[in-house]
């Protein structure tokens, strides 16, 4: 029997994608379908005085025009947020469609529904909205100043919450005694996710059956169903089916429950016809939840020999105009808890203020809090090393949590499961030939060339999350995962998973697990995801949790199938259960060649003529897996860059990523995840960044103005691994979806600053565009 776990099996899902036969939400056309176009606010802050829809209603092909008041009068509730950060967190209502005030450019104001996309869009132009324009504030540091415009009356100072973690007194004390303090002011700029498939949703209501199907480009259909049914529409969950078919990338932006999902569902119930909405890219820019947007002051206290004593971090996090689904958790629990990095400094204190502004809501974007934390820690490490005249690798090594200290409890509540930080640093340095590049750098400087070497030793918490912990930190959900395995009478297998694949390749990876677990070929394993009517329950895919949590749930179901199969095998082979072992993909009587395959057992289970007394027929098992802890992938990335002093352009000469994601099921897929993450992380370092003008207009509102990395912007990545299995889940896996993004942003910034530090430059704010780098070099 082949060992599929650990092999780079080609992806089962690819045939449909390479032949143009994928089914994304916008590809679905239903009989009698209507099309919604959403009228959005052109102002960042305004009062809606009146909406005149008569002309739009009279436009040929228009079926209906709805305003926020129509939804409100019909009992549609505001969108909920799913993470309560402090007891006193201010949660102003987030209406699906604005009722009296708009709070960001792109805020839905009215919905036009017509028989064609074109008619809906034409008619939307005819909707007249009288606005009274109000002053806006876009920058979170400005929003908390006295006299700043207020986003919500409920939060006069624009602060939703002030959250803190760690021992402040001990940290302050350690810092006051430290021989050296390294201090940085960091702007982690706002990013716009830009999954290539624009969001799309179709509501399809059948009045006679009182059933609603929502097709939506979501990373977690069950959660959308729960939020929409229980909180927003108040309709029975068993009458609603949510399908997330092929989804063209998510990166976090498709986790959240968005207004458009409610709009098409509600409108379809009103009209008795299917209603489709698909974002145009400019709408994606304005309305997909953005990421990052922190302003941080961080101080690290270090004693004379380079031992780090304490870290104090103050962050102002821009939440945008409303609290998106997981908004509060990202700059707090998913950020502050990671500030220990790979290091054993004993004292950490972090405070985050979550601030409302007149901008698009901000929520999880690939890495979600962890890239921001890694940025703080690793920028400080490089800066401190320079200030102390130490090699940056040496300073890190000196402060690493040693390999024999696991499980390791950090001062910010996490218990790291396993790690070997020295090993990944060593390996990365070897691959890149670190010392050679330091020599090269010195030589280059003499010739007036600018070469820099950047390190990033990161830690990540994934596999979110043990439900008990989730509850304790204010997540209004459990974060287990569900799975179900159905073995058919002929021995083929269908796996139902609550995880959702939007590029990650679950149909292959999960099939590999089940193939090994049950002794079948992956071709005979079908993985079903993204449909609440087929899958018992699920929490979806984000935070690199699919394999660690979803895969573990599948493995639990495999074990249950094996248990039952063993009973059947014992009966059929006339052996005692204790003598049956699962070996080479078969149930074997120990020490004999008497064995049964899954197919033979399945047939017996469904045709139970000769069957164990008291055992139920059939071969199907459900499982829910609630993780025991987070998982903690880690690694070291090293980049070498060269800067053209005349243009400020950064060229990446080498990029080495050594990641440890625990056991690897499909190395090809893991490498691919790392590549993609690197591209996004490097994108933030060098090119990407949302820019608003002071009135709240998004200046980077299209692909012409927002620089998404292209093929010839990026280098060839050298990707390698160390393997430290996760000790607390059955597969020993940690999660690989975000490592690249978490590590690479700061790695590149460190490299660029390293290249110019001898010119007296301590820092350059992201994105490190040629202009910014050039200005830094030339002091302009």
């Amino acid at each position: 029997m082949a060992n599929y776990i650990g092999s780079s099996l080609k992806r089962k899902e690819d045939r449909r994608f390479i032949t143009g036969k994928g089914t994304y939400t916008d590809d679905i056309v239903l009989p009698n379908m209507t099309y919604a176009y959403i009228v959005r606010s052109p102002h960042a802050h305004a009062r809606i005085k009146a909406i005149h829809a008569d002309k739009a209603l009279a436009h040929p092909g228009v079926v209906a025009v709805f305003t926020g008041k129509d939804l409100q009068d019909d009992g549609v509730n505001p969108l909920p947020t799913g993470w309560q950060i402090t007891d006193s967190m201010i949660e102003p209502p987030h209406p699906v469609v604005a009722v009296d005030r708009v709070r960001y450019v792109g805020n839905p104001v009215a919905v036009v529904i017509a028989n064609s996309r074109a008619a809906a869009k034409d008619a939307a132009e005819l909707v007249e909205v009288d606005y009274e324009i109000l002053p806006a504030v876009v920058d979170a540091t400005r929003a908390i100043e006295k006299g700043a415009p207020t986003v919500h009356d409920e939060a006069p100072d624009n602060i939703s919450f002030t959250w803190e973690l760690g021992d402040k007194a001990a940290t302050d004390d350690a810092l006051s005694k430290a021989a050296h303090i390294t201090r940085l002011e960091i702007v982690n700029q706002r990013l716009i996710p830009n999954a290539m498939e624009p969001r799309s949703a179709i509501g399809d209501y059948h009045p006679a059956r009182d059933e609603l199907t929502l097709y939506t480009s979501s990373q977690n259909p069950h959660l959308i169903r729960l939020l929409m049914c229980a909180f927003v529409l108040g309709i029975p969950e068993h009458k609603v089916r949510v399908v997330s078919p092929d989804v063209g990338g998510g990166f976090g932006s498709k986790i959240f429950h968005y207004p458009e999902e409610v709009i098409v569902s509600w409108a379809s119930r009103k009209l008795g016809r299917p209603v489709k909405w698909t974002a145009e890219r400019s709408e994606s820019f304005l309305t997909d939840a953005h990421g990052r947007d922190h302003y941080t002051v961080a101080e690290m206290g270090i004693d004379k020999d380079g031992t780090i004593l304490a870290l104090r971090v103050n962050t102002i996090a821009n939440l945008g105009a409303y609290l998106s689904t997981f908004a509060g958790g990202i700059p707090t629990w998913l950020y502050g808890t990671l500030l220990a990095g790979q290091y054993k400094y004993p004292h950490i204190y972090v405070q985050t203020k979550g601030v409302f502004t007149h901008t698009t809501p901000v929520d999880a974007y690939r890495g979600a809090g962890r890239p921001e934390a890694t940025f703080v820690v690793e920028r400080l490490m490089d800066t401190a090393a320079r200030e102390l005249g130490m090699d940056p690798a040496e300073l890190r090594r000196k402060n690493f949590i040693p390999a024999d200290a696991f499980p390791y409890e950090t001062p910010v509540v996490l218990t790291y499961d396993s790690g070997n930080y020295e090993a990944s640093l060593e390996k990365a340095m070897q691959i890149i030939d670190y010392q050679k590049w330091r020599d090269e750098q010195a030589k280059a400087r003499n010739q007036g060339r600018l070469i820099g070497i950047g390190l990033s030793c990161y830690i990540e918490a994934c596999g979110i999350a043990p439900s008990k912990v989730a509850g304790a930190i204010g997540v209004r959900a459990g974060l287990y995962e569900g799975a179900s395995i159905r073995v058919h009478p002929t021995g083929q297998v269908t796996v139902y998973t609550g995880s959702h694949s939007h590029g990650q390749g679950h149909e292959t990876t999960f099939a590999q697990i089940v193939a090994d677990g049950l002794g079948v070929s992956p071709e005979n394993v079908e993985v079903v995801h993204g449909d609440t009517a087929q899958i018992p329950f699920g929490m979806g895919t984000y935070g690199s949790r699919s394999l660690a949590v979803g895969g573990s749930a599948i493995w639990r179901a495999v074990e249950k199938i094996r248990e039952k199969a063993k009973k059947i095998a014992a009966h059929k082979l006339e052996a005692s259960e204790d003598d049956i072992v699962f070996e080479d993909g078969k149930w074997v009587v120990k020490g004999t060649d008497r064995a049964l395959t899954l197919g033979e057992i399945a047939l017996t289970a469904y045709v139970p003529h000769d069957y164990p007394e008291g055992l139920e027929p059939g071969l199907e098992e459900n499982s829910f897996y609630d993780p025991a802890n987070f998982t903690f992938p880690f690694g070291t990335h090293i980049a070498v860059v060269e800067i053209d002093p005349d243009t400020g352009k950064v060229q990446i000469l080498r990029y080495v990523a050594v990641d440890d994601v625990g056991n690897v099921i499909n190395p090809m897929i893991v490498d691919g995840q790392v590549h993609g993450g690197l591209a996004q992380g490097i994108g933030q370092a060098l090119w990407e960044g949302a820019v608003y003008d002071e009135n709240g207009q998004l200046l980077t509102g299209s692909m012409m103005d927002y620089a998404i990395p292209k093929a010839d912007d990026l280098p060839h990545f050298e990707v390698d691994r160390t393997v430290t299995p996760c000790p607390h889940n059955p597969l020993g896996v940690k999660g690989a979806g975000e490592t690249g993004t978490i590590a690479s942003t700061v790695c590149i910034v460190n490299a660029v600053v390293d290249a110019v530090s001898h010119l007296g430059i301590k820092d350059i704010p992201m994105p490190l565009t040629p202009e910014r780098v050039w200005r830094a070099i030339h002091g302009k």
Binding site: K10, R11, E13, D14, R15, R16, F17, I18, T19, G20, K21, G22, T23, Y24, D26, D27, V29, A118, N194, A195, M196, E197, P198, D246, V247, G248, G249, F251, E280, R281, S282, H502, G503, Q504, G505, M668, I669, D671, G672, H675, G676, G677, L678, A679, Q680, S702, M703, M704, I708, P709, K710, A711, D712, L714, H716, F717, G740
Partner: protein
């Protein structure tokens, strides 16, 4: 006020009456139901909509359906001959040149045109040729590998 056009798509000639403002990509997706060609942007940047027009890679969101009158279009659905995958399709599969698959049809069609013009490209040339196709998932590395591999087997 429709215009009647005659377009050959993947070897089949279609006659249809379309609004003058209908884009070629909308015609392919909404009239012919060839949904393998995707729409990823509204500013002609992303390349998800790339098809061959008379053999030349073209962003089908930059062209009106009426401009396709009398021309031959090949979409991703037309690339596999009699069910045999094109070497590019095979190479993308083998080299893991796709993740979510949304950009993939456009990337494959662009590469098809490129390899016709440059059958033996370097990595740098491939990266340059794919400038008009955004992929947010793969970091491009395996796309480049796939195009190289396809070049060798074509």
């Amino acid at each position: 006020m429709g215009h009647t056009i005659k377009v050959t798509v993947n070897g089949v000639t279609h006659e249809a009456t379309v609004e003058p403002r209908m884009l070629l990509v909308q015609f392919l997706r909404e009239v012919l139901m060839l949904t393998g060609t995707h729409i990823g942007c509204d500013t002609s940047q992303c390349g998800a909509c790339t098809v061959l027009v008379d053999g030349v890679a073209t962003k089908s969101c930059t062209m009106f359906a009426v401009q396709a009158d009398g021309r031959e279009i090949t979409t991703i659905e037309g690339l596999a001959a009699n069910g045999d995958l094109h070497p590019l399709q095979k190479a993308f599969w083998e080299e893991h040149g796709l993740q979510c698959g949304f950009c993939t049809p456009g990337v494959i069609i662009s590469s098809y045109d490129f390899l016709k013009r440059n059958p033996n490209p370097t990595e740098e040339e491939i990266r340059h040729a794919l400038e008009g196709n955004y992929c947010r998932c793969t970091g491009y590395q395996n796309i480049v590998k796939a195009v190289k591999k396809a070049a060798q087997s074509m």
